[in-house]
């Protein structure tokens, strides 16, 4: 699926090695990607470099993303988060806590309601509302997992909770958030 017609055209031009098209995409999605990178890494200079590296990946291998079957912003989020977490671990001089989930190039391989929701600018508000409605303990584990990049074992150690408890909290919280996304995606379709 295409995020929007303008985005599709720009991606075509990127494939044709048009730097201005990439910069237009940078202007379109850069602030959102920067917000995520800054939330993870907490340093504006480093976050800017992560945004640059994310778009650089798109520039170098535009075929990794198919605009007919996915949403660019979701792909950019995934790449930038992984880059930010990698960098955070290096700066903290601790080994990678787990195998990164990046299955680059396949994120866009199917049409799902959650994907449709990503194209909706109001999705952020729906997600925040859903997140606010979660119990604190579920919010905390999701926060540690997504923004801090901690594994379930590391979260259990941090919170002094049983591994099973952490898994349960994650599953329940994610389930509710995905439900909110699906609802938003259906509205968007």
């Amino acid at each position: 699926m295409a995020g929007n017609p303008e985005e599709s055209v720009l991606l075509e031009r990127v494939r044709a090695r048009d730097a201005d098209a990439l910069l237009a995409l940078y202007r379109m999605h850069g602030p959102r990607v920067f917000s995520l990178a800054y939330r993870v890494i907490g340093d504006r200079g480093a976050a800017e470099e992560i945004v640059q590296d994310t778009f650089w990946k798109l520039w170098q291998r535009p075929e990794m993303f198919d605009p007919q079957r996915g949403v660019l912003i979701a792909w950019l989020y995934t790449i930038s988060r992984n880059l930010a977490l990698d960098r955070k671990r290096k700066e903290n001089r601790r080994p990678s806590g787990h195998v990164m989930t990046t299955v680059e190039g396949r994120l866009n391989a199917a049409m799902v309601p959650e994907m449709a929701a990503m194209a909706d600018p109001s999705m952020s508000r729906a997600m925040r509302n859903a997140m606010d409605s979660l119990p604190t303990e579920q919010r905390n584990v999701i926060d540690l997992a997504y923004f801090e990049g901690m594994t379930q074992t590391e979260i259990a150690g941090r919170l002094g909770a049983a591994l099973g408890t952490v898994k349960t909290r994650l599953r329940l919280g994610l389930s509710k958030l995905r439900e909110a996304m699906r609802d938003q995606g259906k509205v968007n379709r």
Partner: protein
């Protein structure tokens, strides 16, 4: 299906989030790579869900000049000298960019109220330094002007003007913040004064309460004493009534008790079987400390003496004792007044003072 044969959708959520531990995360990644269509669909939905979490990040604007730096990187990559990563730090590019970035960084700090005054001052200083630097120390010469296009220069000028406007806004915000701070300090001082007043009032109230409690305690003691006095007076009044009725009774019996030694003391008893007995004594000797005069009846049978009470002494050696009617009175055949060493009723007569034998 998951690699272990279960169809746990939640596991793909955890996998997409990247929270599983290494072996499980690796096994599921390998399973995806094997081409399982069902799991790929589940994973894609989970991956989109995880990406949706990114939207929870608070909105942050890109740093000024970020797009220019991205462009520089792209241009470096396409340059004939080869593809290398363009410098990403601002001090590696033109002084104009350096000035822009530094000014923005300073403005970011300037809006922080906790450091507003210090930071705005720093901003102003930096602004002046950079403008001087740009205008005097590093003029745009043919050598370096080739690196910056006129369009970029115009864009940077616009950026700097924008930053200067932001600086003025920050200064205005600083002024407002200072006013707010003064107002808050005034309110704080007023509140502190009020707290001191309330504290003084509280202490005063505590002192008054303590005083009132003392007065209440004293009043309770007085009330107890007054009740005791009232009881005593009532008892005296009842006894006086009994004495009056005895003395008015007819026929009234009477006997005089005679001194057993050389004492000048004398006593007389009046009695009537139904009204009781009254002893009236005069010129009794001085008693030792804790001593008492006690009245005994002679009776027929054993024991020979029955203690009927302690004489109440007056100020001038006179004594009085009323004995209510009862069996002891009916069996009386004589009376004896003794001196005892204690004030409790004795078991046997002590020193005999006055007596009348049957």
């Amino acid at each position: 299906m998951t690699p272990n044969g279960r169809n746990h959708f939640e596991d793909w959520d955890l996998f997409a989030l990247g929270v599983l531990d290494d072996p499980e995360q690796r096994a599921m990644a390998e399973h995806l790579a094997s081409g399982c269509e069902d799991c790929m669909r589940l994973f894609l939905a989970a991956e989109a869900g995880a990406a949706g979490l990114a939207t929870l990040s608070p909105d942050e604007p890109l740093p000024p000049g970020a797009e220019i730096r991205m462009r520089k990187r792209l241009e470096s990559a396409s340059a004939p000298t080869g593809t290398h990563r363009a410098p990403s730090r601002v001090w590696m590019v033109a002084p104009w960019v350096l000035a822009s970035a530094c000014l923005l960084a300073a403005i970011e700090f300037g809006v922080n109220l906790a450091h507003t005054q210090h930071e705005v001052h720093k901003l102003e200083q930096q602004n002046a330094d950079y403008i001087e630097h740009i205008q005097h120390e590093t003029p745009v010469t043919p050598a370096n002007s080739a690196e910056i296009t006129p369009g970029q220069v115009a864009e940077l000028r616009t950026t700097i003007e924008g930053l200067q406007r932001d600086l003025k806004t920050a200064q205005a915000a600083k002024g407002m913040a200072e006013q707010d701070m003064k107002a808050a300090q005034t309110q704080l001082a007023e509140a502190q004064a009020r707290v001191r007043e309330l504290d003084a009032s509280l202490k005063d109230a505590d002192a008054r309460r303590a005083k009132a409690e003392d007065a209440l305690s004293s009043a309770r003691l007085q009330l107890t004493k007054a009740q005791s006095d009232a009881d005593t007076l009532a008892q005296v009044a009842r006894q006086d009534d009994q004495i009056v009725r005895l003395l008015e009774a007819a026929p009234l019996n009477q006997l005089d008790l005679k001194p057993t030694g050389t004492l000048q003391a004398s006593a007389r008893v009046f009695w009537q079987d139904d009204q009781g007995l009254l002893l009236v004594a005069r010129d009794l000797p001085r008693l030792p400390q804790h001593g008492s005069f006690q009245l005994w009846f002679y009776r027929k049978g054993t024991p020979e003496f029955v203690n009927v009470g302690v004489v109440q002494l007056g100020a001038s050696g006179n004594g009085l004792l009323f004995v209510p009617p009862g069996p002891a009175l009916l069996s009386m055949t004589g009376a004896l007044l003794s001196e005892e060493s204690g004030t409790a009723s004795a078991a046997a007569p002590g020193e005999e003072i006055l007596k009348v034998k049957p």
